[in-house]
Symmetry: C2
Subunit: 176 residues, 2 copies
């Protein structure tokens, strides 16, 4: 099981997450002759500012602030489309939001563990889940093409806090 759950949900040097992601992105684009333009790179960087998924219009606001000029929705959606296609980010359908992929180019489960309290989302690549789904599909004569697995609950941090103080939200706390 390839998981970044521990990393996401524990204090860590998040600058390293960001720089590693950007390096991976540059390498991958160089290899495949794709253009990681300034806009695309900015959107990717924004998505790596935290381990929480961001919506298109949050990206729009933040990019406008950074670049000091108004940004129209298509600009964001085009960057997002590119990053999705190259596998550098994922879309989380139940949130209408996007998040950086910690292991592009590897095998994927498209499984996300999303905290309903703090909003963080951890991607998990889990080969036994993939196998189980695959065999389920085979039994049903269903030709599997893609999957979207989103599970909701309390991340380790928020679980602990719930137990400790009886359920006071930590939604505004940040644990990058």
């Amino acid at each position: 099981m390839l998981s970044n759950s521990r990393l996401v949900h524990q204090p860590h040097d998040h600058r390293r997450c960001i720089s590693a992601a950007l390096t991976r992105a540059r390498d991958l684009c160089a290899e495949e002759n794709l253009r990681l333009t300034p806009t695309r790179e900015s959107v990717l960087r924004l998505l790596w500012q935290s381990h929480r998924p961001l919506g298109a219009y949050q990206l729009q606001d933040q990019l406008a602030k950074i670049s000091g000029k108004p940004i129209a929705p298509p600009t964001i959606y085009r960057a997002v489309e590119f990053l999705l296609k190259t596998g550098l980010i994922h879309r989380i359908a139940s949130l209408n939001a996007y998040i950086g992929c910690p292991f592009p180019n590897s095998d994927h489960s498209n499984l996300f563990m999303i905290c309903t309290d703090c909003g963080s989302a951890a991607e998990v690549a889990h080969s036994s889940i993939n196998k189980l789904l695959q065999s389920t599909c085979e039994k049903a004569n269903f030709t599997l093409q893609d999957q979207s697995l989103e599970i909701f609950g309390l991340c380790p941090n928020c679980s602990l806090q719930q137990q400790e103080n009886g359920g006071i939200s930590s939604a505004d706390k940040d644990h990058e």
Copy 2:
């Protein structure tokens, strides 16, 4: 594994699907003292007209046609909200669409097998997937609350047709 995949993807007397669903709904609402009003029942019936998920505005159009008067979005969303809360339907996040639940009141996987060709969606309750997810969450100290599992591919029918004629879409064919 409790699956209605076979039923969904094979020719069957679909009137029985509809009437069974409505009977279940009436019983369930009677038991729990909930009001299955005409609007709510109409929306449920519309969602059972086929095994394809319908969006809110498709429901709006169709309900308007049936009732002979314009219907505003809130009417649909309220009915949908009620049916979701009572477990009679599900939302399919990646499609922004809704579909009737074939086994309300049972244990759920919230797992849908969605055909990318004909659009049909079959719900599957799969205890080993649930167990696997549960144990995965436990290992990660993640407190599972809810899940949304959507897998995409070709249903048995469309798989066959692809093999036979080399990939001509059957999106406009109906196999209720």
